[in-house]
Amino acid sequence: MAQAAQKTRVPAIEGWFRMDAAAPCLIGSRCLSCGSLFFPKEAAFCRNPDCSGSEFEPVELSRRGKLWSFTDNRYPPPAPYVAPDPFEPYAIAAVELAAERMVVLGQVVRGVGTERLRAGMEMELVLDTLYSDDAHEYVIWKWKPVAA
């Protein structure tokens, strides 16, 4: 009898975050010339107009931040989003990272709707499934209220 194979967990996009369920974090880049931070990472040119740096090092971004704003998808987004059928609405958060002075978007974990969100809330980065196929579970970063 065939056994249901365990799906392989793979990142939905390579190199944007650390695949460590216990301590995930986004991976940006730092310009070796001026120190500016970028997410998603830059690898070829520095976007600071006063810097012509072309070398970067990877940098792990803060795992926590404050909720700047939030909204949700009540209807399935169009392709290339892989929307489950039936579609389940989900929230999207914009979270401000203090040290990086940067706002980063992410889906909010399943089960946390906009009614449970307020600007200023402490949010934490987690890993969760974006979508699956027969063999793979594609993993993405999401935001989760620390208090939840």
Binding site: P40, F70, Y75, P77, I92, T114
Partner: protein, 395 residues
Amino acid sequence: MANDVAILGVGMHPWGKWGRNFVEYGVAAARAALRDAGIEWRDVQFVAGADTIRNGYPGFIAGATFAQALGFTGAPVASSYGACASGAQAIDVARARILAGLCDVALVVGADAAPKGFFAPTGGDRPDDPDWLRFRLLGATNPIYFGLYARRRMEAYGATELDFANVKLKNSRHGYTNPNARYKKLFTLEEVLESALVSDPLRLLMICATSDGGAALVLSSMDYARRHSRNAVRIAGVSTVTPRYPNTLIEMPNFATDSAAVVSPPDVGFRDSIARAAYEQAGVGPEDVDLAEVYDLSSALELDWYENIGLCKPGEAERLLRDGDTTIGGRVPVNPSGGLACFGEAVPAQAIAQVCELTWQLRGEAGERQVAGAKLGVTANQGLFGHGSSVVVKR
């Protein structure tokens, strides 16, 4: 002013879902603008087209497409793309040619045939394109970004769902008799508040639709306008600014803002810089503005624009709306055309349509939606990937 160009003629093809080729809308708008200007197509010395990316190759070379449809005359062309700001880019190219003395009279045309529903990225598997990735990894549709801005107003300034609904109602009152509008309907508060929630807090009737439509301008040097004995309304400033690094507001289609950890943010943020650049060219300020056409991609976003174009300070837009200042008859009416709420967005035509409306208003030809005594107007708009768009039009 030495940097003014005359708006000799304006024309539009009505907005709607007509199911025809975008070139037809552009040609109809161009012919209307030429008629309004009282000149012949053969008099046009330069054609500036605003591109559409959803209609195949003819859309990418819109200037030549419209010129060929009107009948090639040998006139030089340019085709511009700046997302929702494409129209302003085309206006700016035509204006620059005129001010440089390279031509006396130019035709600016933008038209679109838009798909139904959410805008989606162009096709294919393109994991290095942020516009593709935002859909793939986040499902971040355009209304997601509008929803973030709307919720931010609620959290930061105490805006309410009722405020957003009232922007929609104001614009539908302004525009429901506009012959070029798509939605010629007086919506009720109940209809708006009971329409489906799309991206909390925004409901379907607070989010602009995608439309077919076309708009065109005939621009000329001030000398040429005088020779045609026309006391023309003029363009006194065109802004096509980009952001200054670091841009600290999350913008479509980005995943994150720039970081302000190393380089401090500019004194004036991107959105505030858009109209400001046009004001500076025109030698005016927001206090001189009699009316404005702004990009109400969502009803909530119109409130952001009140502040961004300097009609009030941050956090005061709701008061302006509630006091009726931005309604026709108020201190500074906004979107007397009905705005995107009544039109829906025909991307490359929209910034040109804003200038058509200001022209009719400043000529006193706006009929039921006329803003009394209007002398100076401003448009504001923004295209994704860092395109500012603002035009100052004056009598």
